[in-house]
């Protein structure tokens, strides 16, 4: 398979054409795995720990046949127990996530990303759970390590479209209160809310010993403000918030404002040892997942 073909797997537009979220997640993950093999990158599957000699009762399929050829004795591959990881996938489902300047809404993109992560986590026999929220928790799927648990997560994702206002900080604090064991918190959100409560909640996760990854989703139009002419902008969440502006006149300043916002978030996250990843919804999914994979080591 050529490089170009592989990239196509992760094109958000291509993925948007796949209506089944499971297939979409699988497509992404399998594509990534395939790409990694081809690139001889570090392994990521169940982690090999050591060999031990075969003893009766061991599963025949776990015998390392290569070692038999080399040493002429039966060895069994021992793997690291991976059920230690409990990942909470927190997806923002507020109305602002319903925005798409070019076909793929932030919510669609976030769903695919979340599903792919869940698939990947469960495939590694880790426990994955899901929280969707707007200004309240819309659904909560506690983490499990079962393979078929993915169905439940995907059902929760598909169950509800984006709606309502955002209150990321408050929701994350609520989630933090419900988590009893340390784990991995993955936040997928456009973060269009007051930054301080969000950062405070993220720091709380960290304080409790969790690892945190933030996928900051923004539409290219939100980053670039590419519109022309006089436009009446109406906020997607606060309906009484509207403003007339000539994008051409404010574009430069707007980009500065967005950059400052992103930089501040990135800095604050970095200071709190939180992985922060800004993702435009036209970014291929493999690059988005790379952040997780680099964390997973």
């Amino acid at each position: 398979m050529a490089d170009g073909d592989i990239k196509n797997y992760f094109d958000p537009k291509v993925l948007a054409g796949i209506s089944n979220l499971y297939l979409r997640a699988r497509w992404v993950v399998e594509g990534i795995i395939s790409g990694i093999h081809k690139s001889r990158a570090k392994g990521f599957s169940v982690e090999f720990e050591a060999h031990r000699e075969y003893s009766p009762g061991d599963e025949i399929r776990r015998i390392d046949w290569k070692a038999l050829g080399k040493f002429d004795r039966y060895f069994i591959k021992e793997y690291e127990d991976e059920t230690n990881l409990r990942a909470y996938l927190c997806l923002d489902a507020s109305a602002s996530m319903d925005y798409a300047s070019d076909g793929v809404t932030k919510f669609d993109y976030g769903c695919t990303l979340t599903a792919s992560l869940a698939y990947l986590i469960l495939r590694q026999q880790d426990a994955a759970g899901l929280v969707t929220f707007s200004n309240r928790i819309e659904s909560f799927v506690p983490p499990r390590a079962k393979r078929d648990y993915l169905t439940q997560i995907l059902r929760a994702l598909e169950n509800r479209g984006p709606a309502g206002e955002t209150n990321v900080g408050k929701i994350l604090e609520e989630v933090a209160g419900q988590i009893k064991r340390r784990g991995l918190i993955i936040l997928v959100s456009d973060l269009l809310d007051e930054p301080e409560p969000i950062l405070k909640a993220l720091r709380l996760f960290r304080f409790k010993g969790n690892d945190v990854i933030v996928f900051h989703l923004l539409d290219p139009a939100e980053l670039e403000l590419p519109f022309e002419g006089n436009i009446l902008f109406e906020d997607m969440e606060a309906l009484d918030l509207r403003v007339v502006a000539d994008p051409r006149a404010i574009r430069k300043t707007y980009r500065q404002v967005v950059d400052e916002f992103v930089s501040e978030m990135r800095k604050q996250c970095h200071d709190s040892a939180i992985d922060y990843q800004l993702i435009s919804t036209n970014t291929p999914l493999d690059k988005a997942l790379a952040s997780y994979l680099s964390w997973r080591g």
Binding site: L192, E222, F227, G229, I231, D235, R242, V244, I250
Partner: protein, 698 residues
């Protein structure tokens, strides 16, 4: 300094300057609505750039508007002009120079105003380039003259040389009409220059509504000639004839009313009366500021007929019409036929003695306006009554039918009849034969002893015949008279000029056709009254005689104003013929005589110079017409007034024509024109570049 446009029609393009604003407003109406998640970032951005953004926005709008304005101005091709403007650049010129040659220019510019005006006109003509055309029009025209634009400078300069100061007021309406008529042709650049002293009188008579045509797009510049100092300024307002009029060898009273137009008193102004070129009398007068004063002259005319009168004003530094002309038409002696009905061998006892003495007190036939001829009653039938203006019947007993008829005819032709009573007068004869001529039928004689004589009761001093008795002394003299014998009449007091104390009329009047009759109920001598011995008798007799003869003797004719029309009334028999007018410059003009109701009339309009105009009547018509042989023409009285119209008033008068007033020195100092198209184009390019750069920064 001024700016004008070669193609002003393109200035309508300035309306397009509103387009950027309209587009801006339309864009605001047609704006899109977008639901957007990051509105808070937009708000934040706007807040940050608000001030500079708005500034740039308005700057951009201003630049675009300015660019359109500049484009419109560029197309209109503005020309910047300094001074009176010489014609450098801007294409060929069609120029009309209006030269104010009204009388007031005589005194403008400290006496050299007209010279300065002509020099300014010469400079303008000299500055014309090849292909330029010009016309020179004096302001004192009738409007019938023909003018044309011409390229030949030499011809224009000769025309300029020939223009002289006129005696009248500027006719700005006719001059501007001509100018706009000449410029109503396609031309690159059309202009009007009016060189004037801004005299108020000419502009007072101007109204924009009277112009037949005008074009506000043609620049009009008034080149002003003005005095540095205000001179003493006045004129003769009116010349009046006083006394008993103008009669041969009689005292002639002439009153000249002088007006001072200035704010300073005019002292020691020499005022001179001349008649037929001979100085008769001169006086020094003082005229108060903005006021009037009268100067009276006494003189005497030796010959009957028309005389040329002239009032001359002389003073160093005085500005105003120096000469005022008037015609004096002197009446020869008034012929009175006195018919004595009771002649005596002793003259003093004759019925007519006191009457004839009252008419000619000295007995010298040259010293009185009246020339009485005394005849006896029997001679009345043979007398040629048409030779006399008045016939006085003094105690004439009876009238034959022939005499009565003769008197009636005389009255119907406008004669005057004075009838005195007396002991010989037969009332029946008068009542029968002169019924229509008597104020009332005569009744009985009333004779009383002298001691119980009647007093004078009432005197009608408002009657023209008795106007002398407005004087209290004369009135007292008349009132002191006593009457002890008189004829009573019916309808007592109906038309009485003088009544007795008992109410009976003493003097009564009757009009017969155009003739007049005055009946005095008492005697002309001392038989029935002591009136002939009173001081009042002479003015009474002369006043009644004058009245019966048709009023004052002679006349003073102030004539017409320069530019006015003289109407000469003539007898009906000369219709179709023509008379000849000889102007002061000896130029002769034939004027046709036309019918006018029951008369004939000749109208002469070319009274363009001050002075005396002589009338030569058609052969054979001299005796019948009664027209005077000359008349006077004077400059308009107000033309001597040197008050000026100011620029604001002039602009208001000429609106919508745009006028700019510049001093004559501006022409003398020259000036030049600069085509502003190139600088404007450069500015437009700079603005467009700046606009483009600024637009990119948004």
């Amino acid at each position: 300094m001024s700016v004008f446009f070669l193609h002003p029609i393109y200035l309508y393009g300035l309306l397009a300057a509103s387009l950027p604003i309209l587009i801006h407003l339309l864009n605001r109406r047609r704006m899109k609505r977008i639901r957007f998640p990051a509105v808070r970032f937009i708000l934040l951005s706007q807040k940050r750039i608000s001030r500079s953004y708005r500034l740039r926005h308005w700057l951009l709008l201003a630049l675009r508007t300015t660019a359109i304005i500049l484009l419109a101005l560029l197309l209109a091709n503005p020309i910047f002009q300094t001074g009176a403007g010489l014609f450098a650049g801007g294409g060929t010129v069609s120029l009309v120079i209006l030269l104010d040659n009204s009388l007031s220019m005589t005194w403008s510019g400290d006496g050299s105003g007209f010279k300065q005006a002509k020099e300014a006109a010469r400079l303008l003509i000299a500055s014309l380039n090849d292909g330029d055309r010009a016309a020179l029009i004096p302001t004192n025209i009738s409007g019938k003259e023909a003018f044309r634009l011409k390229e030949e400078k030499e011809v224009l300069l000769r025309e300029l040389q020939a223009i002289e100061i006129a005696d009248g007021t500027a006719n700005f309406t006719a001059a501007l009409d001509k100018a706009y008529e000449l410029l109503n042709v396609p031309a690159g650049q059309r202009e009007i220059r009016l060189i004037t002293d801004m005299g108020l009188t000419g502009w007072d008579q101007f109204s924009i509504a009277a112009l037949k045509q005008y074009d506000p797009s043609i620049p009009l510049k008034a080149i002003r000639v003005s005095a540095k100092q205000k001179p003493l300024n006045g004129a003769v307002k009116e010349v009046k004839l006083g006394g008993q009029g103008a009669g041969v060898n009689l005292p002639l009273q002439i009153e000249a009313v002088l007006a001072n137009f200035g704010a300073a008193e005019i002292k020691d102004l020499l005022v001179q009366l001349s008649i037929d070129g001979e100085t008769k009398e001169q006086k020094l007068a003082t005229v108060p500021p903005r006021g009037e004063t009268s100067v009276n002259f006494q003189s005497r005319l030796a010959k009957p007929g028309s005389h040329m009168g002239e009032i001359t004003l002389k003073k160093e530094g005085f500005a105003g019409t120096p000469r005022t002309y008037f015609a004096l038409h002197a009446q020869d002696k008034l012929h009175v036929l006195v018919v004595d009905g009771d002649p005596q061998t002793a003259l003093v006892r004759s019925e007519s003695f006191f009457l004839s003495r009252a008419l000619n007190p000295t007995g010298d036939q040259h010293s009185s306006l009246y020339l009485p001829t005394v005849i006896v009653a029997d001679g009345l039938g043979a007398a040629a009554l048409e030779s006399y203006q008045v016939v006085a019947l003094c105690n004439v007993a009876a009238l034959t039918d022939a005499v009565a008829q003769k008197l009636r005819n005389y009255l119907s032709q406008g004669g005057g009849l004075l009838i005195f009573g007396g002991d010989r007068l037969q009332s029946d004869s008068y009542n029968q034969k002169m019924t229509q001529a008597l104020p009332a039928p005569l009744r009985e004689k009333k004779i009383a002893p002298e001691a119980s004589a009647e007093k004078i009761g009432k005197i009608d001093v408002t009657h023209p015949a008795l106007e002398n008795f407005a004087d209290a002394i004369l009135q007292e003299s008349l009132a002191s008279s006593r009457v002890w014998g008189y004829f009573r009449g019916d309808g007592a007091g109906k038309s009485a000029l003088i009544s007795l104390a008992n109410g009976d009329p003493l003097v009564a009047e009757q009009k017969v056709g155009i003739g007049r009759v005055v009946f005095i109920a008492t005697s002309a001598d001392r038989d029935w009254t002591d009136l002939p011995l009173k001081t009042a008798y002479l003015p009474l007799v002369q006043g009644l005689t004058n009245y019966l003869a048709g009023g004052k003797r002679g006349a003073l004719d102030g004539g017409v104003q320069v530019g006015g029309t003289k109407e000469i009334l003539l007898a009906p028999g000369v219709v179709g013929k023509s008379l000849r007018i000889t102007k002061p410059n000896r130029q002769e003009t034939e004027v046709g005589i036309v019918a006018d109701r029951d008369r004939s009339i000749a109208r002469f309009e070319e009274n363009d110079r001050a002075g005396f105009y002589r009338i030569t009547l058609p052969a054979g018509a001299e005796k019948d017409t009664g027209a005077p042989p000359l008349y006077a023409v004077n400059p308009p009285f107000l033309e001597s007034r040197l008050d000026e119209i100011n620029e604001g008033e002039l602009q208001a008068k000429l609106r919508p024509i745009q006028v700019e007033v510049i001093p004559v020195e501006a022409v003398e100092q020259g000036g030049k024109r600069t085509d502003l198209a190139l600088p404007l184009l450069a500015l437009l390019i700079v603005i467009l570049l700046f606009e483009g750069w600024l637009a990119q920064r948004f």
